[in-house]
């Protein structure tokens, strides 16, 4: 408990890392909800990896141009990493969305290929990068330790923008995700709202990867949303449970990592995995797993149809 009080103290040396973890923990699940609902879980795996490849490429450009690494400030390095991350993520999202709309080939195959190619490219780039040991590999692995005030402010501002956009446009984003034909008959521009959703997704993934790495980004995008889906009765509950679970898990994960001297990222993801396992057992006992819900609905259908018929 003493270590928990330490990491919550404003004088804690790694306070920026704690705040960033918690911000990512709260924000990622809110975007992850859309990945789960639109059945784009594989995209949640592929995008953080592609984003981290963008970081590797962006940080390698000065070396390829023969520039001196020592001449670059940490802030300019971070800005370049962010630019690379968001550029790769958005290009990947737009290409994958375009291929999805054309409806050719297997989406899972495309996403799987994008994931392994991005991972391989990252390794290849870093293998030839003599400055990898200066911390870039740590950045890509998600060692949440050296986060400056600038990094924290950038993450906080951008995530606030994402959350504000989600709050303002949730009607349109949910409508085009749930019933595209209805959205079109109401005069909504579904392509525009898809692009807005993908932009928010790309921005969040890029920030999360840059702050905490692809492993944790994937964990926080998907696992809280999957846990929340087992218990939520309404969309509001779904969003609240997912976001709270992400935020609380990031804090507890950081606490465990600090108290037992583990790396933060893997500790967070393991904790989320344990939460998911426990949640699944509770849901199975309470009859809330998807298969049990479905069979209950089917059993109810016969009786309900008669009730409707009598109305």
């Amino acid at each position: 408990m003493e270590s928990l009080l330490q990491i919550l103290s404003p004088d804690f040396l790694l306070r920026n890392s704690v705040y960033t973890s918690i911000l990512v923990g709260f924000a990622c699940p809110l975007v992850g909800v859309f990945l789960v609902l639109r059945r784009l879980v594989f995209m949640g795996v592929a995008l953080p990896q592609i984003s981290s490849t963008g970081v590797a490429v962006a940080l390698s450009i000065p070396l390829w141009l023969g520039m001196n690494h020592a001449a670059q400030s940490s802030q300019s390095e971070h800005a370049m990493a962010f630019a690379g991350s968001i550029a790769f993520t958005l290009i990947a999202i737009l290409v994958l969305a375009f291929l999805e709309r054309r409806g050719r080939g297997q989406p899972e195959g495309r996403l799987g290929t994008a994931y392994v190619v991005a991972a391989a490219l990252s390794i290849l780039i870093l293998s030839k990068n003599r400055y990898a040991e200066l911390g870039w590999l740590d950045l890509l692995k998600g060692e949440v330790i050296t986060i400056s005030n600038f990094d924290l402010s950038l993450t906080a501002i951008m995530l606030a923008l994402v959350l504000m956009a989600l709050a303002l446009f949730h009607k349109e984003l949910f409508l085009v995700s749930f019933d595209r034909v209805m959205a079109l008959t109401l005069g909504k521009n579904v392509v525009f709202w898809d692009i807005i959703l993908y932009l928010l997704l790309g921005l969040t993934v890029s920030l999360a990867v840059l702050s905490v790495g692809p492993l944790i980004a994937f964990g926080f995008l998907l696992i809280p949303a999957l846990v929340a889906h087992l218990f939520a009765r309404t969309m509001r509950q779904f969003l609240l449970i997912a976001s709270l679970l992400g935020g609380v898990a990031s804090l507890i994960g950081f606490w465990i990592a600090y108290a037992w001297d583990f790396p933060v990222g893997p500790a967070d993801v393991m904790l989320l995995g344990i939460f998911y396992g426990i949640a699944w057992i509770i849901a199975a006992i309470a009859g809330l797993t998807p298969d049990k819900r479905l069979s209950r609905t089917h059993r109810a259908s016969g009786g309900n149809e008669k009730a409707v018929a009598s109305l």
Partner: protein
């Protein structure tokens, strides 16, 4: 037809410039109950998508006559199987979507629209499902919620895409009786896509029968006469 709400003028419909149905000229009267009939692959869905504006006509045009000073609104009722059960929306959430066309992006849904949604759920006999999870409702209950959603749009025309698909016989009867009732009471125009002849005979006034690339059109009594049906089916067999 002077009282037409929808007019097809030399209309050809299909995909990517290739017509599936051609040279259709007919009118749907305001306040009428029209059924679109046809075998699988005859072009029912293509016609529906063209009417809704989801795909452009290959040739010709569709004229929509909205009330004065108001844009034309379709109250669309999809097949329940087209909606993903993964979304944890309640019946009320789904019905409220009907009001989204009148609420600007970034603005909350006003209290008046929420009250109107409750009224429509009540009118559709679906008020009891408002707080239930939509995915866990039966087929007939979902249809009632979706009809309520279509009413919330304040539609010029109610468009139903095989609304009894996946719904058992008793619920089918109840849903169609309800649609007939709101058609009579609210004098709302109904366009129903189906392949169920008994339903059409019982509820519709006008039939558009699609087969062999053409659209036959006429009153139910005439279109469903045994001799007419024989000739249509013989044409389909040939």
């Amino acid at each position: 037809m002077t009282n037409a709400i929808i007019t097809f003028e030399n209309l050809s419909i299909g995909y990517q410039g290739r017509p599936l149905l051609g040279d259709i000229s007919l009118s749907i009267a305001r306040g009428s109950f029209t059924a679109i009939l046809g075998a699988n692959g005859s072009g029912k869905s293509t016609m529906l998508k063209t009417v809704l504006g989801l795909i452009p006509p290959v040739a010709g045009r569709i004229a929509l006559a909205a009330d004065r000073g108001k844009s034309f609104v379709f109250g669309y009722v999809p097949q329940t199987t087209n909606l993903d059960p993964l979304f944890p929306f309640t019946g009320f959430d789904v019905a409220l979507m009907g009001a989204y066309g009148r609420v600007k992006p970034g603005f909350p849904v006003p209290a008046g629209e929420r009250a109107f949604t409750r009224e429509c759920l009540e009118a559709a006999g679906a008020q009891g499902f408002a707080r239930e999870r939509f995915a866990e409702l039966s087929g007939g209950q979902k249809q009632r919620v979706l009809i309520a959603r279509a009413l919330v749009t304040r539609p010029d025309i109610l468009v139903l895409d095989e609304p009894t698909s996946g719904v058992d016989a008793a619920a089918t009867r109840a849903v169609l009786e309800f649609i007939s009732r709101i058609h009579r009471e609210k004098e709302i125009t109904v366009l129903l896509v189906t392949h169920d002849l008994p339903i059409v005979r019982r509820h519709a006034q006008q039939v558009i029968w699609l087969h062999q690339g053409r659209a036959l059109n006429g009153p139910v009594a005439e279109m469903l006469m045994p001799e007419r049906l024989m000739s249509i089916f013989e044409m389909e067999v040939q």
